[in-house]
Symmetry: C2
Subunit: 203 residues, 2 copies
Amino acid sequence: MNLQRQPQAGHDNLFAHPFSPTALPQEQPAPQVVWLTGLSAAGKSTIVDSLNPLLGERGLRTCILDGDSLRTGLCRDLGFSAADREENVRRVAQVAALMADAGLTVLVALISPTRAARHHARSIIGIERFVEVFVDVPLAVAEARDPKGLYRRARQGEICGFTGVDSPYEPPVCPELHIHNDQVSACAAAQMIDHWLRQFRGL
Amino acid sequence: MNLQRQPQAGHDNLFAHPFSPTALPQEQPAPQVVWLTGLSAAGKSTIVDSLNPLLGERGLRTCILDGDSLRTGLCRDLGFSAADREENVRRVAQVAALMADAGLTVLVALISPTRAARHHARSIIGIERFVEVFVDVPLAVAEARDPKGLYRRARQGEICGFTGVDSPYEPPVCPELHIHNDQVSACAAAQMIDHWLRQFRGL
């Protein structure tokens, strides 16, 4: 038996162990990563909370990756500079890919303000299982909601680099789904996503 | 309805969304994180590859987190300095915790050379679901195996900070399982872990 293994491309001292693939139950469709992007207070997490039980009722095993929660754990070493925000999105995408590999349907709620970072996320996760959902509300609406008091603090200069105030949000050019979330309920938005997943990804 | 939420402890602009918990099937026991630590070439990944189908046969959904693979993805920005190694272990622990939260049994194969980093991992994952498995072979045995040619390169000075050569490995003081992996086959080691999980964690 030849025990010598070939290193991974570009990494001459890292070797991917050729693990036997974990067999997924045959009836399971390919896991998807539903990536909700939008301003703070656009309603991303609330939609996820409505969508999660809809998917669970259909027998899908799900996992939620929420921006705020991750920033106190996996990404707690990161701040809000442009570079740190890109790294934040990259890590969430890597974890989402691992979870989809493990057969979970992944629900991501993350501002992810730049097109470049979301494009990178799409490439990490794979276009066939990345579902970009633009949770769109006018800035004025998000700012009027302000459930966390963050817009107020950003306007007062207490928080710097806040998306929509003094840091840009780049709307998706061609998202899989565009939800005008000032015109529908979270429940209706969740049903739109659920319907889309069934229709276009056979989930 | 009071929309004001309280920030997370120590983070005055991060708010954990109060997601409804995902209901796990009642027959599922608490997910465990099996953390294999040991020298390079001790046999960690090979044991994981034997253990994974044993758990799958019992209906458990599993996920493998392998050190080398993660270093080309989630942890690709990290090197092999002491600080970067600690951060590497921390990130893997955070991801393992998220996966266990999602109901997966997680198999980690990671040198994780320091007691401090493994202790940190235990605290992130939770003592009730952390299973430290010391995959123990004498350095001379690992070096004689050297399936990746890394020990040879470390001895020749081509790789710096290599665990066991010019960087310390701190053996676990009180692991849940201690496997003398120069005396048993990977298959037998996997069965030992499987048996332990059933006996002590009801998995």
